[in-house]
Subunit: 355 residues, 2 copies
Amino acid sequence: MTVTLADVAARAQVSPATVSRVLNGNYPVAAVTRERVLRAVDELDYVLNGPASSLAAATSDLVGILVNDIADPFFGIIAGAAQSAISGQAGAGRCGGEKLAVICNTGGSPERELTYLTLLQRQRAAAVLLTGGALEDPAHIAAMSAKLRKLTAAGTKVVLCGRPPLPADTAFAALAFDNRGGGRRLTEHLLALGHRLIGYVAGPPERTTTRHRLEGHRAALVAAGISGGASDQDRLTLHGSYARRCGYDATAELLRREPALTAIVAANDTVALGACAALRDHGLRVPQDVSVAGFDDLPFAMDVMPALTTVRLPLVEAGARAGRMAMGREGAPPGGIAMVGAEVVVRGSTGVRRG
Amino acid sequence: MTVTLADVAARAQVSPATVSRVLNGNYPVAAVTRERVLRAVDELDYVLNGPASSLAAATSDLVGILVNDIADPFFGIIAGAAQSAISGQAGAGRCGGEKLAVICNTGGSPERELTYLTLLQRQRAAAVLLTGGALEDPAHIAAMSAKLRKLTAAGTKVVLCGRPPLPADTAFAALAFDNRGGGRRLTEHLLALGHRLIGYVAGPPERTTTRHRLEGHRAALVAAGISGGASDQDRLTLHGSYARRCGYDATAELLRREPALTAIVAANDTVALGACAALRDHGLRVPQDVSVAGFDDLPFAMDVMPALTTVRLPLVEAGARAGRMAMGREGAPPGGIAMVGAEVVVRGSTGVRRG
DNA sequence: CTGTTAGCGCATTCAT
DNA sequence: ATGAATGCGCTAACAG
């Protein structure tokens, strides 16, 4: 019923092997023969059987891109850039070299992360790209390390993008965002504006991204000699998800705990937006009464009113570079890991401390 | 080197066939035997070979979700919801039933759209979900129809989400957003506020979404008896991409063409944000001087200042429902197509006409 | 440059 | 309820 490679071979009056060679383009074939085969392919409307091909070749053209939450533009932008870098480079042949870059949405669940890895392992994926912060649960880290090690052993290339390298594993090329440095510089900016009572709406606990940004924040406070003591820092730090709603609720709570607050640093831009909304609802102006800062510099950050002071992460560049690394078009960075910049972008949402 | 099903069979002292049956769970196997096999699987750390399995069974567990631009939360939200609906329903067996729902980013390119479809066809995908507006180029429509017909013929389920059904093709279950109705009601809202000179920053030409929203807009104008003539409508309508930048540039141009403009309708929320920025840069206040309205009701729409009046599309519900339809967990809507609502949400960015 | 020969690892008939 | 045999469609040696 379905047309196979053998049918094409018969039609073109060549052997199946020749058809395969033409299709894969990785072997010398006479120009005339190629034309004949291609014509037969076209006439029969033949489509290669991927599973059969992958089985015989022991590899597939599937590339998996794992993201924590595809509804979040942070991941959408990285994933889109990576996918372009991977799919955009069609090989010389119109059939060969074409990779199927696909995005897998884990929803931040460790189980689904592992499940997707297994599914990709099943498919003998050519490469796997892990994006965004990782969970710090030791058991999960161990499971992930083991799984990734198996994947590489099976010939799958593993690349980390925006995720710190796994402990004791320099085996995987990694691109890490300088969350700590960015977090520190952002708080230094606030300190320079005179702020001393700074609330911090952190991301989900147990995530590397959350921890690093928070560490940077606290390092800046300590360096300025206003650590305020651990208890005070805890009092002004609240954890939540990356949802706008969390920024709103956490800000309300912070205001309750410390009405004299003059600045709020949010886990990311989305959360910062929620914080701004909460402040407005409390009759406070941004930045005259309270300054607000975000993180990531998502596209909308420059368009909200007031425009958000935030930390710009080169999401597109990082995603594209990770994609190239996954394709072997770009070597791993020296030491296996490259730290990509995180630069503070000052806009209207932060200003000098009031009165 | 790599452990196969035969290895597991040997370890469990059963035949390969039995192992296969246990793994697929679609055949009676004695409980004791099953336990023994499962233990062997665990001990050997066996992972099914997807390509081999798909080849033998002539189907795979891959489900493709095609999106125009994954960096746009519009698609991220739909895709995320669809993926959850598809992956979330692990079958009774811990091995079987698990689908690999993957997102394919076409970037709006018709070639890549077809390429992805071919790739998914190669993989013998179980289902394909097409999301978002379609290109109206006749050649591309024909190519898509043909390709989709072949996919269904090969056993792949095709579902359309947020995309109008293909002409003369009731074969594919479709969920369509009421872009025309939403567009019309949005403009009616503006007309009710007294606006008469309304600029329209439309999306990319040749896209169904663009055309439908624009048609709704014009229908409202005509119904109000202020069609203004075709030439006038053309003068106040500008096409561009869905980028924020286009909203900015188009607004500047509209202001040049018609300084007396009192309202602007944008292709979507992102474009509306760009329009707001342009107005501000021209010293105009929103909504006191000019009202602005978006479309989609993305999460940030309620958080910008002033909050955006827009048309809410049930992205999560539609994505999830499409996912269920792709899995055969929900039947196709009567007639093969269901129109999902598009409700105007009035917020601060629109107000009564000035003066 | 091209044809021939073997599997790749699994699902599925048939038997039992 | 389980085992034995067959073939899915293709690629990769190996010849020629």
